[in-house]
């Protein structure tokens, strides 16, 4: 039991980062990015190809992060431009359609050009004993990176000028414009950040299990479930929901079976939404 809870925490932290990238973009600009998982996969693939070209793992992973950020930027500059000109529900719907289209295009290309490829960052080293449980070195490193990322995000949003600007746009876009903040610029930066977070998920995930090029949609779906449970637009919510669902997933996998884990996550999500329509930490409109 302790082992699967610990595994669940490792997974949950990654769920949280995954969902944070989605929920930020939604909270800031009312945009749901259904190609989010593909951004993660492409970043993983870039890391893989860079390593195959002879670059060591750490710089290759950094190049993967840059690729994720660049993809986010490209989305902002291209398919999201018509989305920004719509407001409210029309904006959400158009963003769903266009990013879904982009997801299919990326998926199709990857399956044609790089079928069966996958990033697998094996990290060697003796297992570490945590709370009497042996943890593989890969899990330990992945969790360490993820915890650092969470800390950096917290610092960014809580204490920096940029973080204040972003929070104010999330809370009241028109109000933020009146204090002198440019919401468009904030949206662009957040898409870059979101791409980097997607890349971090792909890279840390691949330290625990291979991330193959077909994983795009399941990553997006997983991210959406966590986002909805946490409350759309809430970053603390994303991390709380990530932990809860990560633990549920891992406990359910070891006692019931992996094949049912997505169903169990969906049920947990549905129950949360029935009890709390705004998600765990969502704000009521």
């Amino acid at each position: 039991m302790t082992a699967s809870i610990l595994d669940g925490i490792v997974l949950g932290l990654q769920f949280g980062v995954l969902a944070a990238g989605l929920t930020l973009v939604y909270g800031l600009g009312g945009v749901l990015n259904l190609a989010y998982g593909q951004i993660a996969v492409v970043s993983g693939l870039v890391t893989l190809l860079t390593m195959e070209a002879g670059v060591p793992a750490v710089p290759a992973a950094l190049i993967g992060l840059v690729a994720g950020g660049a993809l986010g930027l490209i989305f902002d500059l291209t398919i999201l431009q018509p989305v920004y000109r719509r407001h409210g529900e029309a904006r959400v719907l158009l963003s769903l359609l266009l990013t879904l289209g982009a997801a299919f295009v990326i998926d199709g290309y990857l399956n044609w050009r790089y079928p069966l490829r996958g990033l697998n960052l094996r990290i060697t080293g003796d297992p570490l004993v945590v709370f009497g449980v042996r943890m593989r070195m890969g899990s330990v490193v992945a969790s360490g990176i993820t915890i650092v990322v969470i800390g950096v995000l917290y610092w960014l949003f809580r204490y920096t000028r940029l973080g204040r600007a972003i929070r104010s746009v999330i809370q009241d876009e028109e109000g933020s414009r009146l204090v002198g903040i440019d919401p468009q610029l904030m949206m662009r930066l957040i898409l870059v950040l979101s791409g980097v977070l997607a890349a971090i998920v792909a890279i840390t995930r691949s330290m625990v299990a291979p991330v193959n090029v077909r994983a795009g949609f399941s990553l997006t779906v997983l991210g959406l479930i966590v986002t909805v449970v946490g409350g759309l637009g809430s970053i603390p919510g994303a991390f709380l929901a990530g932990l809860v669902l990560g633990i549920i997933n891992s406990v359910a996998s070891s006692y019931i079976g992996t094949f049912l884990s997505l169903i169990i996550l969906l049920v947990a999500a549905a129950i949360t939404i029935v009890i709390r329509p705004t998600g765990l930490l969502g704000v009521r409109e």
């Binding site: 204490y159 000028r161 204040r164 600007a165 929070r167 104010s168 809370q171 009241d172 028109e174 109000g175 933020s176 414009r177 009146l178 204090v179 002198g180 903040i181 440019d182 704000v283």
Partner: protein
């Protein structure tokens, strides 16, 4: 040169003009009241100045620079602050953090966070909200919210302050305080104030010049006494508004 000049500014929504060719100038620390019946186009006119709406025609000139259609954050950094009709504060931040945002982002040369917090404290003391600075915004009433927004506006050290009905719904005592605060803001910082108001008592007590809008056009202009005796103004208000005073 006037600080703000509007030249034949117009804005229509779906073919219906909300602002229909308005020309006016202000500056030099004047307190200019913009009055007129509901739907006259007062709020729209302010939004055209700060860039929340883009005019269909005409030009907006600030200090000699054409700022027509410029986005609000740039207009803000050029020294124009606005307090909207409905409060626009950030609910999960404290009063102090809200006001600090005005200093952090509204100025041409931004201060660091500590300076911004100091500026915020000063601005809050100025509007009499310093004892509420660690509260969240949700704890404030409407009257205090408006003062909060006033403080946030002056924290960005504007040259031009646009106020949209910030005195609506206040009781007599609150009205007196508000009038004093707006006058003090002008006196201390030499800020030009363009102020939309329905409360005639406040207009008569505070405005130095009054512009009356009706159907998006300027109907009359002059000192408060002059304007309120103008038969066209009385006509425009008749049956629509009580003159209050």
């Amino acid at each position: 040169m006037a600080l703000l000049e509007l030249h034949e500014v117009g804005k229509a929504y779906g073919g219906l003009p909300a602002v229909d060719g308005v020309s006016l100038g202000t500056g030099g620390g004047e307190i200019l009241a913009l009055v007129g019946p509901n739907g006259a186009g007062k709020s729209t006119l302010l939004k055209l100045v700060v860039g929340l709406e883009r005019p269909n025609r005409g030009r907006v000139i600030l200090d000699g620079h054409d700022i027509t259609g410029r986005p609000p954050h740039l207009v803000r950094r050029m020294g124009v602050a606005m307090v909207q009709q409905t409060p626009r504060s950030f609910p999960t931040m404290t009063v102090r953090e809200n006001v600090a945002l005005g200093a952090l982002f509204g100025r041409d040369t931004p201060p660091d966070t500590d300076e911004a917090l100091e500026i915020a404290d000063e601005a809050l003391a100025f509007v009499g909200l310093d004892d509420r600075r660690h509260d969240t915004v949700g704890a404030l009433n409407l009257h205090q919210l408006r003062f909060l927004e006033l403080a946030r506006a002056i924290a960005g050290s504007p040259r031009l302050l646009l106020l949209d009905e910030v005195m609506a719904g206040l009781n007599d005592a609150e009205l007196e305080t508000s009038i004093d605060i707006v006058r003090a803001i002008r006196d201390r910082h030499d800020i030009t104030v363009v102020w939309v108001e329905h409360v005639m008592k406040a207009v008569m007590g505070l405005a130095e010049r009054v512009v009356v809008l009706d159907f998006g056009r300027i109907l009359a202009e002059g000192s408060p006494d002059q304007v309120m005796r103008d038969p066209a103004v009385v006509e425009a208000y008749l049956g629509k508004e009580d003159l209050g005073a």
